[in-house]
Subunit: 429 residues, 2 copies
């Protein structure tokens, strides 16, 4: 496919007008300002469009799409205990499959090409991701409230089977990460057993909730005499590449641990604000040289997967939290949304619009009034654009979404099945 005469945001974060980008199979074959030679299956007219690397959602719980707007305006404990946990207790394979499929549709609509997903029923998640054509790093998160021998837990076994069956499946579109749900939902034996298994397999990412709320952070210090970051490091969980979600209450010492161990921080600005958890000090984390990626968290607490909204809220939330309008540049944010996310997922060939990288591309409408005038296109992308400006989403060289239509997802059936599964669960409650 040839994107012709299009404005592009290249891998040096430069805006190049009147550019050409050719894809071949799953790869970007050419990027330049001259029309390349050759026959192309399709030529895409780039007038009024910007082409950039697709977004990588570094922290999500996709099946929770079924709980969009379910249980609003509640205190956190009431939201969890009276709404989320009872609903989740009724989930089954069918509900998870269609919830994930709906989430993939929304993701593709908003230009998200790959998602780091932490949940359970992971084979169903993997099936939906496979069918959708999108990419995901899927993790079966471990909890242990009972002191059970970790290796005997069903979840631990599921995790191993998942890794064996799905890691690098679908031409590498699907990867299997490891996950400890968090310090506060498990015990040291589980943490250590998981760290040992991850070290043994080597080729994986460790995805963990870290210091999302003040109480989680403080109670860890009371229990273990150290912060969640320090505890998780001491358990060996950061000895493989790790992805720490939230980090709202992470201290300077914690950030130093992330830096030293090469841990990526996945910030979830909308969810953290909506649940009133707090605002992660992302500018400080970046300043210390830690890789930052952006996540939406679940739709149950967001309630959207609009990645443009996520980027803007990340910027303005950080500015107001420190009363410093000069912090968090649009460039830092675009990097976190693409390159930072690819690093978080261990996908060296993704997150960049460059020849040789995977063709995970999105086209954006820059002809609309909200994108003018153009003092700085990157400013406009972060602050003025909005998710529905995405006109095309391509993953591994295949167009999966274009102008409201999906090529791999039967959207009417997906909505019907997701609604039906939701109603079925609600009836049981």
């Amino acid at each position: 496919m040839l994107f012709s005469d299009i404005t592009l945001l290249n891998d040096h974060y430069e805006i190049i007008p009147h550019a050409f980008v050719a894809t071949e199979g799953d790869t970007i074959a050419y990027v330049g300002t001259e029309r390349p030679e050759g026959d192309f299956g399709r030529e895409y007219d780039g007038k009024g469009r910007l082409l950039m690397s697709g977004f990588i959602n570094a922290h999500a719980h996709s099946p929770m799409t079924l709980m969009r707007g379910y249980g609003e305006n509640l205190k956190l404990q009431s939201w969890l205990n009276d709404r989320i946990f009872p609903f989740e207790a009724q989930l089954d394979s069918n509900a998870v499959y269609w919830g994930t499929m709906l989430s993939m549709a929304e993701s593709l609509q908003y230009g998200i090409v790959s998602t780091s997903d932490m949940y359970y029923f992971c084979e169903d998640i993997a099936r939906a991701v496979a069918d959708s054509g999108a990419k995901a790093n899927i993790s079966r998160s471990l909890t242990n409230f009972t002191g059970q021998e970790p290796q005997t837990m069903e979840s631990f076994k599921e995790m191993k089977v998942l890794y064996e069956n799905y890691h690098n499946a679908e031409n590498g579109r699907i990867k299997i990460d490891m996950s400890l749900h968090g310090e506060y939902t498990s015990d040291p034996r589980t943490a250590k057993a998981l760290a040992e298994y991850a070290a043994e397999i080597g080729d994986t990412i460790m995805h963990i909730h870290v210091s999302e709320t003040a109480s989680e952070h403080e109670e860890c210090i009371q229990r273990h005499g150290m912060s969640p970051a320090a505890y998780l490091e001491s358990m060996g969980l950061f000895d493989v590449p790790a992805l720490a979600a939230h980090c709202v209450y992470s201290t300077e010492d914690d950030i130093e641990i992330f830096r030293r161990k090469g841990v990526t921080v996945a910030t979830n600005p909308v969810s953290n604000m909506k649940l009133a958890s707090g605002i992660c000090d992302v500018s400080r984390i970046l300043e210390k040289g830690v890789n930052v990626a952006i996540g939406t968290d679940s739709v149950a607490s967001n309630n959207s997967l609009d990645f443009f909204e996520e980027m803007k809220v990340l910027a303005i939330g950080n500015k107001v939290a420190k009363l410093q309008p000069e912090i968090m540049t649009p460039l830092q944010i675009i990097k976190a949304a693409t390159e930072g996310g690819a690093k978080a997922q261990g996908r060296a060939d993704c997150g960049r619009l460059a020849a040789g990288a995977k063709a995970d591309l999105i086209a954006i409408d820059i002809a609309s009034p909200n994108m003018h005038p153009v003092h700085d296109m990157i400013n406009n992308l972060v602050y003025s654009c909005g998710g529905r400006a995405v006109t095309l989403t391509m993953v591994d060289g295949k167009v999966l979404y274009e102008n409201g239509e999906f090529t791999t997802i039967d959207i009417e059936k997906t909505i019907y099945e997701a609604e039906k599964a939701t109603e079925g669960i609600l009836k049981k409650l």
Copy 2:
């Protein structure tokens, strides 16, 4: 025109499926669940659409659209002194007209039907609003840094002429408000002279910046021994219906003044966060019985007019600022965005989807994946929708925007002229 078999959000904030809404001239003639009798010029198929009252943007500076993304990541004083003020010094009628027209196009695209605008070159703003078909309450804001006799100021004269020529123009689409820019940019004589003039004409709104930043609030107390709200009340500026923009640092006593005097608070959540001014305690202001409306402030500090984004950021910003996830309900927000704004503009016949009210309506795509499942449609509207989901915007019974097309605005010419005017100004700097 007949909207047929559509989901609607009525003036009791109930969701009514399979409804019919008919407009006649500039008015809503029928709302119900039975198809009304009669011939209709056009029937709109409501499948997958929700119809609601259009948004009212209660605080804006429309021509500043030309400064979208101009001067990012700067401290407030540097942003104003090095970017905004020098650019504004070069504005002329042509630039203001096209900047406003671009702003009206963006507004209509995002479902904003009426705007409370505070700026200068107001006849050019009025011409653009008139040509666009949108509604606006326009105010020529007064400043006085030199101690000049207020009645002799050009701005004061312009304000009077503006009122005489444009108040209730275009079948009432255009109204002229009064405006003191703020306490900190004027002197007591100007404030009093304006209050006297407003009292004399009676039929108007007083639009003022109030306690936007901590320094503005504190310095007023140092200068006058009272807060901006108390000072403005003492000058008589709240003796006509008033609209206080921002109120980020307003105290309990200030809120009591707003309540007693019937002042509307226009909150501007995105701009206040992006400029790192702070977060207005809207839930407290609502609790005290004060009318609240929502504004975008200027695109120079926002940098968008996406009203869905504004609503969501209002909610999540308030939640995180008080660490209370249960405050600011979607219902409160939708009310502020419509009914609250109409009250702020003194438009008793607007802001409600009911027979007899003005036909200022928007249709929204609720078929897309991001709007499913539907546990609560109002939650989905506030948290999951996004501005580009607006498929149709009607003002006074006329369709002004539909599926990316404008009926009154030549969008290509508008973008061209706005870009040209911007370039012309930049060249002079």
